[in-house]
Symmetry: none
Subunit: 184 residues, 4 copies
């Protein structure tokens, strides 16, 4: 039996939406909990009650984004094409402000092991889990799957952080080709 005023779903959505919007406009680092509360028309205490810090809010927002755009990865007959398509979609999304938010969340997790663990579990591992079966279908058994995942997503993260070159579909196709070449 629960009592009292229930959590406001409206506030929750307003916070997530405001947080994403502010990140898109000002960049993750520049956004403040105060800003988010103001933009969402929400009390500051509400943020602390339900999330506690900026990274957790964005982590949840990113989760919703992923859930919306999940789109079942219908396995076509061509494993190589399936891999390429997955990477094109993933890298394409990472190339927008969403990638910057992901980087920001990861960055905040650097100094806080607990948050880092959540990032790993909710943001990183799911993607690894999606990539792994696609690689299974193109790689011979003697190639280590985890290493291959590190190489693929590593290249993406490296460019996201370092920005020496864009993260886009073209890059995704290059990386896919390199994997296939490794497959022999």
């Amino acid at each position: 039996m629960t009592r009292g005023r229930p959590r406001s779903e409206e506030s929750r959505r307003a916070v997530l939406s405001a947080a994403l919007g502010l990140c898109e406009r000002d960049g993750y680092q520049a956004v403040t909990l105060k800003d988010i509360a103001a933009a969402a028309g929400v009390g500051r205490q509400t943020l602390y009650r339900w999330w506690g810090e900026k990274a957790e809010i964005l982590l949840e927002a990113l989760g919703e984004l992923a859930a919306e755009g999940l789109a079942a990865p219908e396995p076509s007959g061509d494993p190589a094409a399936d891999l390429e398509e997955f990477l094109v979609r993933t890298f394409g999304s990472a190339g927008t402000y969403v990638g910057a938010v992901v980087v920001g969340v990861m960055v905040d997790g650097q100094g806080r092991p607990e948050l880092g663990e959540r990032v790993r579990r909710e943001l990183i591992q799911p993607r690894r889990g999606e990539l792994r079966p696609l690689l299974d279908r193109v790689l011979p058994p003697e190639v280590d799957r985890e290493l291959a995942v590190d190489l693929v997503f590593g290249a993406m993260w490296y460019r996201l952080l370092n920005r020496h070159a864009p993260v886009d579909g073209a890059f995704a196709r290059e990386v896919a080709a390199a994997v296939l070449r490794m497959a022999g």
Copy 2:
């Protein structure tokens, strides 16, 4: 003709050394300009005069570290062994607290384009420049060098950030083997 009291080399070294020491003990994010000034026995204004922010201090400190441990990459007769040795050394160093400092500096550069550019120029590009000729000697001409560099260092950065697995000599050898496999 310059006049006035010359900059104190002693203070400079004390600052760089204190900064590294505090990062090793407390982690990059936890270290404060105040802490560094206190640990170095130096006025806070001196830090702002010559560096201006934590990342710049550590950037310079990392530069000195790199200069000390440069060790000419004597090209032996075996290109594959040379590549592996370079990666073992590089990953080995990144596996210590130094890697955490590098991540911290990079992370701070995310929200500040100017600092990001310095990080890229002084920290990232030099390493890419060292790796490239080693790859030249093992990769066939049709494999894109920049892509290969992205894959190699990407894997390293991905693990540094994400910490799902160690960055060490074993990992360096796996990556080297994957590159050679890509070479066909």
Copy 3:
């Protein structure tokens, strides 16, 4: 309609009290906003939110002091005695550390016209207003009231600043006698 947490009257009183106490112990010039915050057990930001500078805090504190010790100036039958009593009370108070605080506040107002205006309005003019009717009852109409006020309070201020002689009841009686002599 106002909402949110109301201003803490407790903090306000703690600040005013701490400020006066520190001034009494260390002298106005030596007291720091930091000191006041610490002594009052209050955040530094609170001082900046409500007052903004040392002089404003003491101005308010002096206002409260004046309000406490106002004591209606019951007009007796003897105008000369009333004048003398007023001056004895006023000079007596100015002779304590309170006079030093008043000087300090005035001094701070020298370089800031806005603050100077407040000091004039809240600290100086009220006292002139109290003195004027007392002078009216002892001075003939041809003597300029404002000049007389300047002479009386001027003598007090001159000694407060210059400290070549005490500001006390004896001095108050001398000044009162001089005024009566001017009255003819």
Copy 4:
């Protein structure tokens, strides 16, 4: 036996002149030792070597000003006119920025007994000494001289500090008239 380079009279004059100029332009409180050194084209150490603080510099500068405009107080046959003329000259000078500087110096002396003593000795007492004989010639013996001096200069200082009315020739004449009225 003195040796070494002698003190530079040129620097000394440049400092005094720069100090007065800056006070006229920016007001005493706003002027900094750093500013004076820069404006005088002089090293900061030179200021500390010969003066030690702002007030001492201005004290010396005011002394030079007074020495320049001393003008012998030729006693005419009319004591009342002599008094009035003295006050008109004195108040006239105090009405310019010079008065503001005098106030500034006095104010700085509030928190430092040693400096206060110098101000009293070099700035205040000489003027009292000039006024006293002029009062002697107009006041009957039963009127206390020191009290009369306090009233006259007190009125001037009170207006200098408080600025509720100008310090000028007209005010000087009013004060002179009040003194004569006190004389009976």
